[in-house]
């Protein structure tokens, strides 16, 4: 083949669309043919300034030997060529012993197979990418044409390597940006903290091809873990090893990379630092696949991710704290509005009730006197009795209303709720009217005590139980479940009372706590309303779960007696006798 034809072929290959490595190998093969070379290969200069044999047209003894050692920049003939960026040509007579790689003693045995050696730098103005090696076992010196060919081939190969590095760099950047954009999406989503951490763990593990990823948020100014989320699974031994490494990361505020642990795995753990404070740690575990020492094993991404996370997470922590506060404020506001509503309504009804009471007492009182003074015959006697009975009924309604309107002061103490329910159930069970009601009570062991007025709270449960009885028409099953519950970081004891009375009509369920709302023929509509008022004044709440066709469940949450509330409230209560005068 003519030189010109060959060169144009090399250029064609170099500019074709096939895979980069295939293009390089193609060019090497063309050179091999033209110079009758026995061995042709390329050393690549890595980031650690060592040369690694990467491309070889065939597996020969010499390529095997050269692959087994990575010379430093400047070391031996290949190192020198890369450093000086000048081609070196040798014949068997002047080739330096062992290519100057003096520890490679075995090279002694193989170099005598060759006659000519060319070492060509693959460099441009700014960077050196490697060295092209051409060894031939025929001839004595390289011709000018061959040298020309080397020159052009080296330039094309340099271009291809440069393109390759650019490609690797771009794909790294693209992965990085894609990962960050995905993490960004998770960070600005309105999910809760837990799901956000889980999402990040998943993205990190997927991107790095890791078996396991873990994101831990640390409590501010403390060692305690606030939250952690994991993706994937590892054995407990590996996990405890990760935890040990995470502790070091937090203590020292620096990353730990490529730490080999059990099961041939590598741990990489990077701190999430914001404004000099370690917010948490992000760790991944990857199977050790031998790429640990090269720099494209993906771990580098973790630093970028943890940097990116630091500011985002701080915002999220603040946001989630803010959300808790807003939730609490909202629920407090709701309580206040409800209480205010009930209070003004109560005042109004109390006034009306009082005004009605006097005329009623007069009507009833004189009707009673009539009954006493007159000798009445049966029908008239019956009429009078009806008047008296209805007056009595009106009076008891008014009494209930007036009781409702009054803010009865709480006489709170530390109370065992389970005991109250046990007593009540016992009380109802001994009533013959309740003989067709079956009770089931379950309560969790070690229930905290509740800070409440036992008389008023008893009234609440009586109201709910009597409602349940009436909903079931005196026949069915009442289930009472007592359990601890945390709502917005506050501790409560919940009492869930379920009946089998068919549930509440969804149309009216929003009204059941309103005063004077009733479904009973002879109800005042104050039972649940009073219960709600009592529970609200205890800073608790009542919830209803309705299963249409089955039954209703009323759940009363009462705040747990913690030392501060109990002591604090007891200081204020109760009023002593002399204070009012």
């Amino acid at each position: 083949m003519e030189l010109v034809e060959l060169i144009s072929k090399i250029v064609d290959i170099s500019h074709s669309n096939i895979d980069l490595d295939a293009r390089i190998n193609g060019i090497l093969k063309l050179i091999q043919k033209y110079v009758e070379a026995s061995d042709i290969s390329i050393y690549i200069l890595d980031k650690d300034k060592r040369l690694t044999l990467k491309y070889a047209v065939q597996n020969s003894l010499v390529t095997n030997l050269l692959s087994s050692y990575r010379p430093l920049l400047g070391e031996g003939v290949p190192g020198l060529v890369a450093q000086k960026r000048e081609p070196h040509f040798y014949s068997i007579h002047n080739i330096p012993k062992r290519f100057g790689l003096l520890l490679q003693t075995e090279l002694d045995n193989v170099l005598s197979n060759y006659r000519r050696f060319a070492f060509l730098p693959l460099c441009d103005e700014s960077k050196c990418y490697g060295v092209l090696l051409v060894f031939s076992s025929v001839g004595s010196l390289f011709t000018d044409n061959e040298k020309k060919l080397f020159d052009i081939a080296a330039r094309e190969l340099t271009g291809l390597r440069k393109l390759g590095e650019l490609y690797i760099y771009s794909s790294k950047r693209i992965t990085e940006l894609m990962t960050l954009s995905e993490i960004g999406k998770v960070l600005i989503s309105s999910q809760d903290m837990d799901s956000i951490l889980k999402g990040i763990g998943l993205i990190v593990a997927k991107t790095l091809g890791a078996d396991f990823a873990r994101v831990v948020l640390k409590e501010k100014n403390g060692d305690k873990h606030l939250l952690s989320a994991e993706y994937g699974g590892v054995s407990n031994e590996v996990k405890s090893e990760i935890k040990r490494i995470e502790k070091l990361v937090v203590e020292q505020g620096k990353r730990f990379s490529n730490i080999p642990v059990l099961e041939n795995s590598l741990v990489y753990s990077s701190p999430i630092v914001s404004k000099g404070q370690v917010l948490g740690v992000i760790s991944v575990v990857k199977r050790n696949d031998g790429t640990a020492n090269s720099d494209d094993n993906g771990f580098y991404l973790l630093d970028t991710i943890s940097n990116y996370l630091s500011s985002g997470l701080e915002n999220i922590i603040l946001r989630s704290q803010l959300k808790d506060i807003i939730d609490e404020l909202n629920s407090a506001q709701e309580r206040i509005i409800q209480q205010e509503k009930l209070r003004s309504l109560g005042e109004m009804t109390a006034n009306i009730a009082h005004e009605i009471k006097n005329p009623l007492v007069i009507i009833g009182g004189f009707a009673k006197r009539l009954a006493k003074k007159l000798e009445l015959k049966p029908p008239e006697r019956r009429y009078l009795n009806i008047i008296l009975r209805e007056v009595g009924r009106l009076e008891s309604i008014l009494t209930e209303i007036l009781t409702y309107a009054k803010d009865i002061p709480l006489n709170r103490t530390s109370v065992d709720i389970d005991e109250i329910l046990t007593d009540l159930i016992h009380f109802f069970k001994s009533d013959p009217l309740w003989e067709n009601v079956e009770f089931a009570k379950e309560s969790e062991a070690r229930l905290p005590r509740v800070f409440c007025d036992p008389q008023q709270i008893k009234q609440v449960f009586i109201n709910i139980l009597v409602n349940a009885y009436e909903a079931m028409a005196g026949e069915g099953k009442i289930k009472v479940r007592i359990f601890p519950k945390e709502i917005l970081k506050k501790h409560y004891v919940g009492v869930a009372i379920s009946d089998t009375g068919g549930g509440i009509d969804p149309l009216i369920i929003d009204n059941i706590f309103n005063p004077f709302f009733t479904t009973k023929e002879r109800g005042t509509g104050l039972g649940l309303s009073i219960s709600n008022k009592i529970v609200l004044s205890h800073r608790g709440k009542i919830e209803v779960e309705n299963q249409r066709g089955v039954g209703a469940t009323f759940i009363v949450y009462l705040p747990v007696c913690d030392d501060s509330t109990c002591v604090h409230q007891n200081d204020k209560m109760p009023r002593t006798q002399g204070e009012d005068t």
Binding site: N358, V361, G364, G365, K406
Partner: protein, 119 residues
């Protein structure tokens, strides 16, 4: 039975009449006052064994009247009588002898009177 004099204080005329007739049926002598001022005057002038006092009245209310009466005659028993059920709870902080919720049924009132007077 020796004469027992009871003063009924209420701003509502028909309540006064009702209580008077009910108590007279029981054999008590009953005098009436329609407000706090009149009641205080009558307590000053006459000798009563017991006062039945409404709380919500125009002019001076029952609680102020009660304090006045107790200043004039410390040992004169007073039964507060009102439509409000709630005051019952605060009874202990007042200086009246008892509290009865006003009702068409005067049985409880009569019982309390008997208890206090020991009749």
């Amino acid at each position: 039975m020796k004469d027992v004099n009871i003063l009924v204080v209420d701003d509502e005329e028909n309540i006064r009449i009702l209580f008077k007739e009910e108590l007279e049926d029981e054999g008590y002598k009953v005098d009436l006052a329609e407000n706090g001022f009149e009641a205080i005057e009558k307590v000053k002038m006459n000798k009563y064994d017991l006062v039945i006092l409404d709380i919500k009245m125009p002019g001076i209310d029952g609680i102020t009247t009660l304090t006045e009466i107790k200043t004039i005659k410390k040992d004169l028993p007073v039964i507060l009588c009102s439509a409000y059920t709630e005051y019952k709870q605060d009874l202990t902080s007042w200086i009246s002898e008892d509290y009865v919720v006003k009702s068409a049924d005067t049985t409880e009132l009569k019982q309390k009177i008997k208890q206090i007077l020991g009749t």
